[in-house]
Symmetry: C2
Subunit: 252 residues, 2 copies
Amino acid sequence: KTKTISVLNQKGGVGKTTSAVNIASFLAITETPVLIIDMDPQGNASTGLGVGNQKLTIYDLLINNKNINSAIQKTEIDFLEIIPSNSQLAGAEIELVSMFTRETILRQIIQNVVGKYKYIIIDCPPSLGLLTINALTASDSIIIPIQCEYYALDGLSQLLNTIRLVQKNLNSNLTIEGILITMFDSRLNLSQQVLKEVKDYFGDKVYKTLINRNVKLGEAPSHGKPIILYDASSTGSQNYMNLVSEILQYND
Amino acid sequence: KTKTISVLNQKGGVGKTTSAVNIASFLAITETPVLIIDMDPQGNASTGLGVGNQKLTIYDLLINNKNINSAIQKTEIDFLEIIPSNSQLAGAEIELVSMFTRETILRQIIQNVVGKYKYIIIDCPPSLGLLTINALTASDSIIIPIQCEYYALDGLSQLLNTIRLVQKNLNSNLTIEGILITMFDSRLNLSQQVLKEVKDYFGDKVYKTLINRNVKLGEAPSHGKPIILYDASSTGSQNYMNLVSEILQYND
Ligand SMILES: Nc1ncnc2c1ncn2[C@@H]1O[C@H](COP(=O)(O)OP(=O)(O)OP(=O)(O)O)[C@@H](O)[C@H]1O
Ligand SMILES: Nc1ncnc2c1ncn2[C@@H]1O[C@H](COP(=O)(O)OP(=O)(O)OP(=O)(O)O)[C@@H](O)[C@H]1O
Ligand SMILES: [Mg+2]
Ligand SMILES: [Mg+2]
């Protein structure tokens, strides 16, 4: 059976792509077949895995009804494949508005590969528009990265409202897989305060593993590599490895 | 005469809101009348200036055709007023799609207050959708914050393409006001590398003032205050003050 997980938070720059890329990578190195879908017109997940976006992308599947297998590309990691995206996807939000069943198109696409992968990870853009709604409708659960900053707390109620709307109208099975604290810096009061507020709000949905601020995570994308291939001994790499073993504990 | 400046970059979390709020604040303390418009459904600029969003917001002006003066609120800083936003705005992208002249609605709204303010600063969401197109169509120029991270470079060509399209089809006067380096950390190679690449790419459009990473800028929003009111002696405050004097040099 395949589990589809969206990585989502409409607040920008909180570590969605970094988490999607590195969670998918660490899942795949345990020889678990994983597909990552880049639903962000910026195409950062594609860049972060060193994959070009000149061939078919998620846009061609959503709008031009192409066969999913023609858009799936290999990555440098065995067992990890990707459906990339590029800037064409920016136009998809408007093109989707007038289509029938516009919220469930991605779910229909993914049906074609259920069983081929154990996990499908979807990297979402920083918005709550139709691309994100498609990802939520297609998902079993959601991982919400929260940066240790005040603005990151501000938008949580909007996010939870949107999730509730999707659960009510489009996907009643959707659950929260977990809340991930990112860019944590134990020396800063702000980090400690946000961590406390998030734990108070979400309780044991918050992963015990915190992702620390670590420049290696910022350097890795410029080499088109997930952290395991760029610097496996870094704090960032250890954090994401611990996170994935925590995720697997809840899922196996 | 009023100058309207959009603060824009579709990459998330690069310091758009922090820059819009603090540029507007430092402009206003020179007793220059400034209006800030929060075009982001997250409403971070409204939060950062301690303004509630229960009254009329930019959504009511864009979609419900209300009078602009009914949505303008005062802030803690004399000479600085705001049109706030809230999560209702998230629905506006879809609602705008079917409206006539959907790209120029904000420009028509702003016409009503030209002359009342010397500067209008627009905080944009992390996307290139209709809300952002409205902001670009209504603007004289754009400030582009760029975080010292690799992904921040990745999206620049998309951003410049969008700007060119707006210049060609909707607003031929639109210019780049300046490129602002944010969250700079001189100890990190990554910061130095990104700075060099940005200077190579944009030349003297890059502000000499760099905004350093400074935790006080992250703490200020939780008190609903711009940095000048939260901690005027901090590096963050000095950086934004220097930036505004640089902006004024080019404009007066
Ligand atoms: N733990 C970390 N330590 C240091 N840098 C990080 C960390 N996580 C992410 N980054 C860097 O911070 C920036 C923002 O992260 P990322 O792009 O993954 O966020 P995002 O939520 O996907 O952004 P967007 O909203 O634009 O999609 C990136 O440049 C990334 O390299
Ligand atoms: N120079 C800085 N030093 C430290 N923290 C900063 C700095 N500039 C911004 N921040 C913090 O980084 C986070 C991202 O900044 P901000 O929210 O202003 O970016 P944005 O581009 O407006 O994000 P979005 O794409 O979600 O609109 C915020 O929590 C902010 O407080
Ligand atoms: Mg991303
Ligand atoms: Mg913002």
